[in-house]
Symmetry: C2
């Protein structure tokens, strides 16, 4: 089985490292090695039909800032030259156009390759086109890590809970916002907490995607399409961010034994992200950077899951679980 | 596909009702009906190769206290007369000997039938014998609902997280104890809360299995065997119940911003059930009758799940999910 890793930032490197850690396990399970036959970052690429050492790729990237020596102008031409069965697409997300990720995923599916991605842009913008293309070409297309990182949610709903009628999912889908709101619970004002989050690496230099709720909205759109079978995009989500939340609002909530959390809500009819009052002690009142989701279904009632929503190894673990699912299906 | 329902108390009836609710879904998914060709309670049985109406069975049981007109002396002889592919074993649990459940499961597996059970006794006492028998006879053997009811845990660990090295699982596996301890948090003494729990139907007339930690210990043993691949029985679990917890201990914990919860712990080396101090706000500090578990693994980090640990429909939903898994594997 041959894997091409497209995108070699934190998640791509994390996946390469996880693959190296699990190489023996995978080879024993499937009786054949998993070969990384290609990798690409935003400018360069490297190909080897005999397989590249994942840890060498990480070392090269960290030493030189480039995963390969050769530069490319069209990523799909690189994919055409590569010998691979599964594309792992983890390039930087573009939630306006889908960007390179959308082109790469589309190209791989058109060429009947299986795809694993955590790239939210393509999934939040063109989910139904991609899933239709995958079905038509009988490709496996998986994206567990795109919502909630290591928190199990998409495959849990689609596989473990496939006998349930899932009525709604409400959750905290952005660790940065939750970190900020948890700190504000203790009386710190928004601007100060944001600066602290940036210093600690929990928030990006341009925090817009997180604090305006766009990142959560992508995840809500992905859940609507993948779990509820809806046909929505990012633009259909009603979004309110957390920039307008004042110390007074937090204090008022606290006086009623409540906290304010940025909650994404999705059902057959709902598609929203916004600050919500949550009673203390409720599963969605958690503090810190974890992601959490409450799934309400007709037979099981409420099921709550939580886990690390981001992180090099944690996101890679979701990709690994998708890889194992695809391998299991292929080797049945 | 033909199902025999063995045990027709709350869970058996709940499963019959759930099956009736999902009959159309299942028939559409698999292109064939699911027939209930037999059912049995502790004294009586009914068989029909053409299929019984699940809701009629429930109505008969509720009206007469018996699921069938004919009485039996040896349940395995009834199974021998029945035409079935999958045994759903939900008879009352016996954690001393495994009881009728162990005999029925063993008999079905020996006759190359698939088995779904939530019966903790057989799983906590003879897990490795049963799983070995199932493997030898190429039978599917599933038991998601035996730990945590509708809370996803066993299949989550064994399937979704199969690329992880699971290091430990700690959880609240008994809703009755958690209800009692949550009430004690508010200052009520043990005896008074126990009486209240009995009046509300949360605790049985003989509450020994719950409050002495035996029920939790069964679940810990099942997790040790099924998730950690250990070979343990109920008797190997180090158990302390909650009967010795005083109001003073609860108050002392509260003064340190902690609560006391009955926690089951399992890892490669650990196998314990006992009262533990848990910081307020920790995932295992939850109040009420929910079950919850924190799974620690090497890549994903901590993943927490919670759900209803008991209940007619909730437990049946776990059986349904096992049934769908078996059907999916059979029809691949």
């Amino acid at each position: 089985m041959r894997v091409f890793i497209c995108g070699f930032g934190t998640v791509g490197q994390g996946f390469a490292e996880v693959l190296a850690r699990r190489m023996d396990f995978l080879e024993e399970r499937y009786g054949c090695p998993i070969l990384v036959t290609g990798a690409m970052d935003s400018k360069t690429y490297v190909l080897d039909r005999n397989g590249l050492d994942p840890l060498d790729l990480v070392a090269t990237k960290q030493r030189t800032g480039r995963v390969g020596e050769d530069e490319y102008s069209d990523s799909t031409k690189v994919l055409d030259q590569a010998a691979y069965d599964i594309l792992v697409e983890v390039s930087p997300t573009d939630i306006k156009t889908g960007g390179a990720g959308l082109r790469n995923i589309t190209h791989a599916l058109e060429n009947r390759k299986d795809v694993i991605t955590v790239n939210k842009g393509p999934l939040a913008l063109k989910f139904n086109e991609l899933i239709t293309l995958a079905r038509r070409n009988k490709c496996k297309f998986r994206f567990e890590g795109s919502v909630g990182g290591a928190m199990p949610i998409i495959n849990l709903c689609r596989e473990n809970l496939r006998g349930e009628k899932i009525e709604s999912i409400r959750g905290i889908f952005n660790g940065t916002c939750n970190f900020i709101l948890s700190k504000m619970d203790k009386g710190q004002p928004f601007d100060q907490v944001l600066k602290e989050a940036q210093q600690m690496g929990y928030a990006e230099t341009d925090p817009t995607n997180d604090i305006e709720g766009y990142d959560s909205a992508c995840k809500v759109a992905i859940l609507a399409n993948s779990v509820f079978g809806r046909n929505v995009t990012f633009d259909d989500v009603k979004i309110t961010g957390i920039t307008g939340i004042t110390e007074e609002a937090i204090a008022l909530a606290a006086s009623r034994n409540m906290v304010i959390r940025l909650i994404g809500e999705v059902s057959e009819t709902k598609l929203e992200v916004g600050p919500r009052l949550v009673p203390r002690g409720h599963p969605l009142s958690i503090s810190g950077t974890l992601n959490t989701a409450q799934i309400i279904s007709d037979l099981a009632g409420p099921i709550t899951v939580s886990g690390r929503g981001a992180g090099r190894t944690e996101t890679a673990s979701a990709i690994l679980s998708d890889l194992i699912s695809i391998m299991d299906e292929r080797t049945e």
